[in-house]
């Protein structure tokens, strides 16, 4: 990519108005990064389109001047996908944040990509419906960013990923063409479903400029259990015991070390007196008068087997919310330790053996680092966070972590798992993509990018080079 031509900034100002092209240092530092801190932001400018036409015009200019664009949503990404560190122009969707239409018969909502996830969740609630994709960053992340990363979160075990809720999408491809994909159809067997290529494409194929999402019936009276478990592996036995008896909406886990950080930082109460090495957070729908008995039965069984040591059950939605915070506040709490994040997954059945191996690697290779485990273990997805010791330089720390990552990812590969379960590849996982994707697959991905983005203006250097 060429260095940005001064002319393009002028043309962008003509197009959008000078106040929607920002080049001040604060804006550059702020909009040039996501939640990751491994790369320092260095964009040339930030632009704020307000319409699809304006997005198209921006992409055409980028093609004309061979200038790289970085799509930017809520900047909560954990893979560096929205980081602009080589003079790119950042396209922020902050202004395209309106809910455009809702159809109660279709139970579908049409919205602009910059709608904040939580705003959509609240909108659904007002219609007495439910948008189920949820995670700790939903108060800042945008629907466009969620679709671009195919975000997962805490309800995947029941409701699936963002992909499962996208029924229509308008995109401006890297060549500036506007595509209107699937427009809300449930069934549509007319060849390649291009919508699914853009879901999870991390802004490398085009810009998502409008979305049609479906909503569903809200869960009935969700209740939360937190169990202290004796060992990481038992979490899967606990999962099976509860899954066979109850309609689960979430199954999460976290370590005592993670809990301790959250309790200290947030002033919350311990879930139960007994300290476990790990905790399982289980959410289920209280569908009938027998549900609670079944929950107790599952708990008793887990106690008898020695997997569960103690636990609590929410008695009000305030308690349910506080118990959820024990899990949801982890990422935010440990952020100040500049953690090195691994977001790895294997098939659920392989989790115990996989965890045993990964645990052995990290305990022998990181004897001096604090290791924080948590994640969506019901989906086979664990977040392994290595905290940076205060005294250690950031660059040195990340380099050491990347070396150990190789061993972890070799293990992921042996288990047929993924080096990025839900956070995307972006910049941070790019060197490791080949552990989860074959050379043939990567070649196909590159060929697809050529089709939609022949001049390579869309988020170059992300996912692969």
């Amino acid at each position: 990519m060429n260095p940005v031509h001064a002319d393009i900034l002028e043309r962008l100002s003509e197009l959008l108005g000078a106040d929607r092209v920002k080049t001040d240092p604060d804006s550059l530092a702020n909009y040039g990064k996501d939640w990751t801190r491994a790369n320092d932001p260095r964009p040339t400018a930030i632009v704020f389109p307000g319409s699809i036409d304006e997005v198209q015009a921006i992409v055409r200019l980028a093609n004309e001047y061979a200038c790289a664009l970085v799509p930017s949503g809520g900047r909560t990404g954990l893979s560096g996908g929205a980081v602009a560190c080589q003079g790119e122009i950042v396209v922020s969707f902050e202004r395209m944040n309106k809910i455009l239409d809702f159809d109660p018969v279709d139970r579908q909502v049409i919205c602009q990509p910059g709608v904040v996830t939580e705003v959509l969740q609240n909108f659904a609630e007002e219609q007495q419906l439910f948008y189920p994709v949820d995670f700790a960053s939903s108060g800042s992340s945008q629907i466009g960013g969620n679709v671009a990363t195919n975000a997962g979160g805490i309800k995947v075990i029941r409701y699936g990923l963002t992909r499962d809720w996208v029924v229509g999408m308008k995109v401006v491809t890297g060549s500036g063409e506007l595509l209107d994909l699937n427009h809300g159809l449930i069934k549509n067997a007319t060849g390649y479903d291009l919508r699914h290529l853009f879901i999870g494409s991390e802004g490398t194929l085009g810009l998502i400029v409008e979305l049609t999402l479906k909503l569903t019936t809200p869960p009935k009276d969700p209740m939360v259990l937190v169990l202290a478990v004796d060992a990481m592996e038992s979490a899967m036995d606990v999962l099976r015991s509860f899954q066979s008896r109850l309609p689960l909406t979430a199954f999460e886990f976290f370590s005592e070390k993670a809990l301790r950080h959250v309790l200290a930082e947030k002033g919350l109460q311990r879930p139960c007196e007994t300290v476990g090495e790990f905790y399982a957070l289980i959410e289920f729908e209280n569908v009938s008068e027998h549900t609670l008995d079944q929950a107790m039965e599952a708990f008793e069984y887990c106690m008898e087997q020695g997997w569960a040591l103690d636990g609590t059950l929410s008695q009000s939605s305030a308690q349910a919310r506080d118990l959820w915070r024990l899990r949801e506040d982890i990422s935010e709490t440990i952020a100040r330790f500049t953690p090195y994040k691994n977001d790895i997954s294997v098939r659920v059945s392989r989790v115990p053996a996989f965890l045993r191996e990964v645990d052995a690697i990290v305990s022998s290779r990181y004897p001096d680092f604090e290791i924080i485990w948590f994640g969506h273990i019901g989906d086979g997805n664990v977040h392994l966070n290595i905290l940076k010791p205060d005294a250690l330089d950031k660059a040195v720390f990340f380099k050491q972590c990347a070396e150990v990552s190789v061993e972890i990812f070799e293990c992921v590969e042996r288990f047929g798992g993924s080096v990025s379960a839900e956070h995307g590849v972006g910049l941070l996982k790019k060197p490791f993509l080949h552990y989860s994707r074959s050379a043939g697959e990567i070649a196909c991905m590159k060929a697809l990018k050529q089709v939609f983005d022949p001049r390579g203006v869309m988020n170059p250097g992300k996912i692969f080079d």
């Binding site: 609630e125 009276d221 259990l225 169990l227 109460q269 879930p271 139960c272 007196e273 107790m296 708990f299 008793e300 106690m303 103690d310 636990g311 609590t312 059950l313 929410s314 008695q315 009000s316 939605s317 305030a318 308690q319 919310r321 118990l323």
Partner: protein, 249 residues
Amino acid sequence: MKILVAVKRVVDANVKIRVKADNSGVELTNAKMAINPFCEIAVEEAIRIKEKGQADEVIVVSIGDKACQEQIRTSLALGADRGIHVEAEDGVQPLAVAKILKALIDKEGIGLVLLGKQSIDSDNNQVAQMLAALGNMPQGTFACAVELTDGKVKVTREIDGGEQTVLLSLPAVISSDLRLNEPRYASLPNIMKAKKKPIDTVTPADLGVNTASGLKIIAVEPPPARSAGVKVADVDELISKLKTEAKVI
């Protein structure tokens, strides 16, 4: 000493309330219900007193239809010893509640009564005061600290602009404010044990109380919808709007 705690089953604090179409009340069908938060604090305080060895028994009472046994069970799981369910139709008014509690105090020989300062559904804040008057007992309302010493109870009360400490002789009535304590979670083993703890059912008539009320609710209406915010161009416009429209300065 026996402690009596009253708990009310109310709509969960986080439920978005909707008024019934005919304005006769709040829509409760399928709404999530929970223990009134102030009552939960009262239960916690009673259990803490017992855990310190300053009480022999914590008795929890709830007045309402059968469903309120759920909130009694929750209190038993938190550590109360036994429950009394006073079976009555919903909507028993504060004076009748106070009379029922007075009858139970006499029957059980209660040394200390702990109540929530108000229930979050009807927001009356009356029962503790009425009960104290009916029983000719001292009262410590809006408690943020409770300490038993030498057969008396010291209660720190939240009052406008500060705190007031009162020393009450027993038997006494205390109503809890929000900051009195942070209620514990109910542990699963204790929830299981609570199933075996006894709950007696009685009726107001058994206690010689007539719950008929002279109060009639004419209409329930939602608060007016808040109007949307406005953006102002500068500080001068803000100040002028605060003066002329909001009239706050």
